[in-house]
């Protein structure tokens, strides 16, 4: 192994950009997962399937219909927003009224059922072939020794924009404030006239929209196929744990970190061992610091 390669500016940017692109995908997924968990207590194991549906929506709009890519991304996000809300209102909401104190675990199991159904429905409808595009935008940016494709810059740009909008929405909009209130004290939020069921439905929709958007945005790297959501969901689940369950900024930070770590470790070892490292890291964090890397407070171990 020649470590000096890592100091080569070409390779350094290549690795960093690759890491950030991966990290951006993990972050979009993990932000939604973490939001849904933080507010509803649902660990959505079917989140990867929402990613998959977003990828198919993107393929349909850009390749089948031949419309421009921004439309595709918007359609993927909006379609999944609606689908997510439907899923919440029909299934998760029904479970909430029956599960009682087994809720957290039962909701997790329910999303496993959702995963199995969606994945196999996709298999039936679309088959196993991979449907993607080679690139949404052509060309590369050359700046001294640094070469980055416009495609990757676009991915990073869109992801940052979406992240910022999400932050602003949660921070400043009245619905965003209601969402935060519901996560901090649902009963009190209700006494102020906040319809908590609506909050749950919208929150799940937002999480689903982020996953769908991620699926659409990364179609040139992860072409749509029925099991495409598996890796994203596992990795983003890891990020959510590393960042602390329900801690959205923590999850995003962990996602970027994990993306870069993976891109670097790809230099040293096969992709298979990367997964062992990720899984090992998560196990380690769960053992020594269940509240996540970035939290100052001790979390209730529920």
């Amino acid at each position: 192994m020649d470590f000096s390669l890592l100091l080569d500016p070409y390779i350094l940017t290549e690795v960093l950009v690759q890491g950030f692109v991966r990290g951006a995908m993990y972050a979009l997924m993990a932000a939604g997962l973490s939001l849904i968990f933080g507010i509803m207590g649902v660990k959505n194991f079917g989140h990867g399937e929402l990613f998959m549906l977003g990828a198919y929506a993107m393929f349909f709009v850009t390749v089948v219909l031949g419309w421009p890519w921004p439309v595709g991304i918007a359609v993927a996000a909006v379609a999944l927003f609606i689908f997510g809300m439907l899923l919440e209102r029909t299934l998760i909401d029904t479970l909430r009224r029956k599960a009682g104190r087994d809720w957290v675990l039962d909701a997790f199991i329910l999303t496993i059922g959702i995963l199995v159904v969606l994945q196999n429905l996709a298999l039936i409808l679309f088959g196993t072939s991979r449907r993607g595009v080679t690139s949404l935008i052509d060309g590369v940016l050359v700046w001294g020794p640094v070469i980055v494709s416009y495609e990757r810059l676009m991915i990073l740009g869109v992801a940052s924009l979406v992240g910022l909008s999400l932050w602003a929405f949660i921070r400043f909009s009245s619905l965003g404030k209601a969402i935060r209130a519901a996560s901090q004290n649902p009963e009190a939020a209700q006494t102020l006239g906040i319809d908590i069921r609506l909050i749950y439905t919208v929150t799940f929709g937002i999480g689903a929209a982020l996953a769908g958007l991620a699926g659409g945005l990364l179609i040139s790297i992860y072409p749509a196929h029925p099991t495409v959501g598996f890796e994203p969901v596992i990795k983003s689940l890891a990020c959510v744990i590393l960042g602390g369950l329900g801690n959205v900024p923590g999850a995003i930070l962990a996602a970027l970190l994990l993306g870069v770590i993976e891109a670097y470790s790809a230099f040293f070892m096969s992709a298979g061992w990367q997964n062992v490292i990720t899984a090992g890291l998560v196990v380690l964090i769960l053992i020594v610091r269940p509240s996540g890397l970035f939290s100052s407070s001790k979390v209730e171990r529920a």
């Binding site: 496993i112 059922g113 994945q119 039936i124 298979g272 997964n275 899984a279 196990v283 529920a302």
Partner: protein, 326 residues
């Protein structure tokens, strides 16, 4: 509020009504005599799958149904049993018969270790931790092809002849009866366990850890017992699975999340905290799967829908219909 009512403890299985004894004997009779009478390897394989997955699901139930511990890396634990036995034979010429035991012991060790590191965790955190433990095991297996042959697949020798019984691969009835013996013993052990003082302690963990601790029960100890015993039994089943199947590969379908989900579905459909419900559910689900084999992925859609249905509308699983069927 909890939808799973406390199990009835009044029914003592060892002192049953004659009608019940007859019903049980009838079912056991079906298990013993149907495969040889039909004498169709296809049917026998279905029976083997159903009993094997049913017993695996009952072991899973010991954790989730009785102690509220979910082992979401369960398939990885089965893989430890399967690979310990198979690799022992492959590399060190250990008899596959001893492999049933070494597989169990190795898995028990992993279970104990996982139990120790998850002691402070509860509920969902245990699920997440075990999931990543299971995945680590699977990744490690697939990333060490020089030792495990990874995704190329490890071929496993059949069990050698024992007491004059021929366990060559062609004689699957022998495997079936071995499974009935093994599975029967495991089921009896599990039933005894949950009705002993262990069972009460497990249930106490499930119901409320804090209250249990304040009653002076050492939940930590019983959590470890539960996890280790379940892992040992899972390892034994994994080792049997290896010998029966003849080829192992650490794919997600075989030893990853899909297998865990399959077993978990059987447990939930059978009814959490019922043990025997898993066996019935396994026959139902494997039967459905085979019946709908021509439908391809539709059978998995049915599987997933059934899990959703059970979670939403039949929260006690098949056990909820017991009074109509039994």
């Amino acid at each position: 509020m909890t939808a799973i009512p406390a199990r009835a403890r009044d029914a003592n299985p060892w002192r049953s009504t004659p009608v019940r004894v007859l019903k049980v004997l009838f079912l056991i009779g079906l298990l013993i005599f149907i495969p040889p009478l039909i004498d169709n390897p296809y049917i026998t394989r279905i029976f083997i799958s159903a009993v094997m997955l049913g017993v695996m699901a009952a072991i899973f139930d010991l954790m989730i149904g009785y102690a509220g511990l979910i082992n979401f890396g369960y398939a990885g634990f089965l893989a430890v049993g399967a690979y310990t036995s198979a690799l022992g034979t492959f590399h060190f010429q250990v008899s596959p018969w001893a492999g049933l035991l070494t597989g169990g012991l190795a898995t028990a060790l992993i279970g104990l270790a996982t139990g120790v590191i998850s002691l402070r965790l509860r509920g969902l955190y245990v699920a997440l931790l075990t999931f990543f433990v299971g995945e680590s095991i699977r990744f490690a297996l697939s990333n060490s092809p020089e030792f495990t042959r990874g995704m190329l697949g490890l071929s496993v020798r059949p069990l050698p002849e024992l007491l004059g019984f021929d366990f060559s691969r062609g004689n699957i009835l022998a495997y079936y009866y071995l499974l009935l013996l093994l599975g029967g013993a495991i089921m009896l052990l599990l039933t005894w366990l949950v009705r002993s003082r262990f069972g009460l302690a497990f249930e106490a963990i499930r119901e409320d850890q804090l209250a249990t601790q304040s009653l002076g029960l050492n939940t930590t100890k019983y959590k470890l017992y539960n996890f280790t015993i379940a892992s040992f039994l899972a390892g034994v089943m994994g080792a049997f699975y290896a010998s029966y199947l003849g080829i192992l590969s650490p794919s997600p379908e075989e030893f990853g999340v899909y297998r865990t989900v399959e077993i978990l579905t059987i447990t939930y459909v059978g009814g959490r905290g019922t043990l025997w419900g898993s066996i019935f559910a396994a026959f139902l689900l494997i039967g459905l799967q085979e019946y709908f084999r021509g439908l391809g992925p539709w059978r998995l859609v049915i599987y997933g829908s059934l899990l959703i249905f059970v979670m939403l509308f039949a929260r006690r699983g098949l056990a909820g219909f017991k009074k109509y069927l039994w």
